[in-house]
Symmetry: C2
């Protein structure tokens, strides 16, 4: 562990720390952020009303929309003069969502990502290949700062230029790699295309995130590269990557850095808490941030949490993989389904590439799902490049059957030749809405 | 000044420091880098033979080719386990040139770039827009680390997505900007296209480099944006940006960080030193680097130096702008010319956009230069979009005349409509060699 004292602290110690952080944060936002002052006043709450962790329920939620409304600096708790870094993510309004960090915030971010790299199996002596995109996006520089904090030899290669990524992996022999799962799969695919065996690299572990992925993708990444693959979670409104991350020992849920972030899971409709193990929307309150403290931020990410101790010895609250987002849940003819559920079923089928696309289309007056899959080159050759071959037709029927059974949805399956679907160099686009004048949900 | 003690140290103090650094570096490479051990042995030099700064002349040169031959880690003086960062630049052989940094090297790099930002007029309280590309290239992360060291609010926007750059400049109100001159000119052009006045931003100063540029481009940048524009110099083999940089007080040559890098200027043919003020090839020896110390690295960059004190109070050796590279000097029919000389003449002509391209073509058996220029929209409208208009023909004749007089070359001038030439999002491509089977020089 990078910070064994805190990562394996007793629950009571942790809760004490959390309460101190919560009180300080509440005072800070009340004093320094007009937006929160007004919200608190409307609810007739004063900082002194927060006496226990349970009192957090009295506090107002913060939403993505609040970041938009307060754009660019309205939620900052320190003067811009004292800000040390600005990041952003693309927003739906065309303007990026802007977030800021003090010097101490940056230091803490580095420490939390260093914890994540160590949890993944990383060591100070490693060469570390960072294929996340660098820029306003928190992925690249977030992992970069953790790597700097730990003291590994970081290769800040960023995303794109896949052949060069392969040259660097072969020649500089990194032991660790990080990036989006879909982009690292593209690298693997390119290696195979070039006649290389991806297991021949020096890679031992990989840290993947910034998009929802599944156990099946994990198996692909682990088997193809011969590595341990772990999940990292974060979002810029809270900090960036490092809010939570898996340990390589158990790979059993992501350890939330709960000395920095207090987590709740709520029912997104009733806003009431759900029980441990039950899916709901993740809500975070920052406990140590200076530049941009956030109170009960509704992430839109669907997951569950557990307070059971992990076999790795860490005592943190753990969260499940993110199963989807409240706003990317597909609702077709009254049935809710997350792309990740479709992915899980798909990737169990032999002969399929891990690249797929879910297209929402309109069929007459009805909405429908067209699932675009892609077969692997070996199967393609086996069927004589005939996508209407009997075994392809059988595969398509099998997929329809599985999805009907497990997700309760009917889909049309369109089978594509190898490499026919677009590849990502960053976050993969899994859902494409092709309904022209689509209502919000159907 | 960021480090006033050292930046304004007396010459004798500086030379004392330099000698200590030189001796340490020579011992370090002799002990830890097989390549240098062998070179020293061939020349029958021992570290103890270096007793004064003048003794540097006994040492062997290092060339770009040596980096290629020792790829990837052969020139490193510390084990890869202790390396904290790897950067690279694209090499001609297809493999990148790989360079490495220890933790202390990274700290020093940050300090030198912080000096450069302060010399440009930057302050800790600034918002700072970094439009250099982030990645293996040292430009983006080099400026980033200096900005972090100084404590400004860095916007790590990287290159590309010009409209978003403009949104960020308008909304986040940076006081400082950095990037390649050609890319920032593209941003300005886009602003004008969108009907904005580039002088309306909050920008006060800009730091530009990573490609050769001229006084005329400086005037464009300064007038269009209403800023002070300064030049920054560096190359990854030595460290990255921050090896030298201009002060905003004098804008009269770049202050070399000569407590870290010992500079020589040589005649690239005879390898003999040239006098102060005379153009020659820059040669640097690192004095404090741990991971990748370099002895007498021949940069290929053509400039002159002066030891006169600058009016800003800094006592460092100063270098002129880089006038070109030993290997991009164009030799046509026996005449040597640098693209920067052509640029200087071009940009004095009213009605021309700052985007141009020098194409080397073959005319029968002879090599020739085709100079592609682009006119500004106002002139284009004035001549009724007629590129054969009398005033365009006059302009072309004027350019030919000027270049014949000042550079002794004959060129064909091809005039293009506004925005017809390709824009850069990083380093501009000024010279395109279209000769099919070209000899090395003609």
């Amino acid at each position: 562990m990078y910070n064994p004292d805190i990562e394996s602290a007793s629950i009571s110690e942790k809760r004490e720390l959390q309460l101190i952080g919560l009180k300080k944060t509440v005072e800070n936002v009340y004093e320094n952020v007009g937006f929160y002052k007004q919200k608190f006043d409307e609810l007739q709450i004063k900082p002194k009303d927060i006496r226990s962790l349970e009192d957090i329920k009295k506090l107002p939620f913060t939403k993505k929309k609040d970041f938009r409304d307060q754009y660019p600096y309205g939620l900052f708790a320190i003067p811009v003069d004292d800000v040390a870094r600005i990041h952003g993510s693309s927003g739906t309004s065309g303007k990026p969502t802007i977030v800021g960090y003090s010097e101490r915030d940056l230091k803490n971010w580095g420490i939390l990502v260093a914890r994540a790299i160590v949890a993944a199996g990383g060591r100070k002596s490693d060469v570390f290949h960072n294929a996340y995109g660098y820029g306003l996006f928190t992925g690249g520089l977030g992992l970069h700062q953790g790597a700097d904090e730990l003291g590994v030899a970081t290769i800040p290669i960023s995303g794109g230029n896949t052949e060069r990524q392969i040259t660097v992996i072969n020649d500089l022999k990194p032991r660790g790699i990080c990036g989006t799962p879909s982009y690292v799969l593209s690298i693997i695919e390119k290696m195979e295309e070039l006649g290389m065996d991806p297991r021949d690299t020096n890679l031992d572990y990989g840290i993947f995130g910034a998009e929802a992925w599944s156990e099946e993708i994990r198996l692909k990444l682990e088997n193809k590269l011969g590595i341990k693959a772990v999940d990292i979670y974060g979002l810029s409104e809270i900090m960036g990557p490092g809010v939570a991350s898996e340990c390589h020992e158990a790979q059993d849920g992501l350890h939330i850095a709960d000395d920095h972030f207090f987590v709740e899971v709520i029912n997104p409709d009733t806003l009431e808490p759900v029980a441990d193990g039950e899916l709901g929307e993740l809500v975070f309150t920052s406990l140590q941030k200076e530049a941009l403290p956030v109170i009960r931020y509704r992430t839109g990410d669907i997951a569950s949490i557990t307070h059971e101790k992990c076999k790795c010895g860490r005592t943190t609250t753990r969260m499940s993989r993110v199963k989807g987002r409240t706003d990317d849940m597909i609702i077709v003819r009254g049935v809710n389904v997350f792309p990740s559920e479709i992915e899980r079923e798909l990737l169990q089928i032999e002969g399929l590439s891990p690249v797929y696309q879910i297209q929402l289309i309109r069929k007459g007056v009805m909405d429908a799902i067209e699932l675009h899959i892609e077969i692997e080159i070996s199967l393609y050759e086996q069927v004589g490049c005939d996508l209407l071959h009997e075994s392809i037709m059988n595969m398509k029927r099998k997929i329809q059957h599985k999805l009907k059974n497990s997700c309760l949805i009917s889909v049309d399956v369109v089978c594509n030749a190898p490499k026919a679907l677009p590849r990502s160099e960053g976050k993969a686009t899994r859902v494409v809405d092709k309904r022209n004048s689509s209502p919000v949900s159907v």
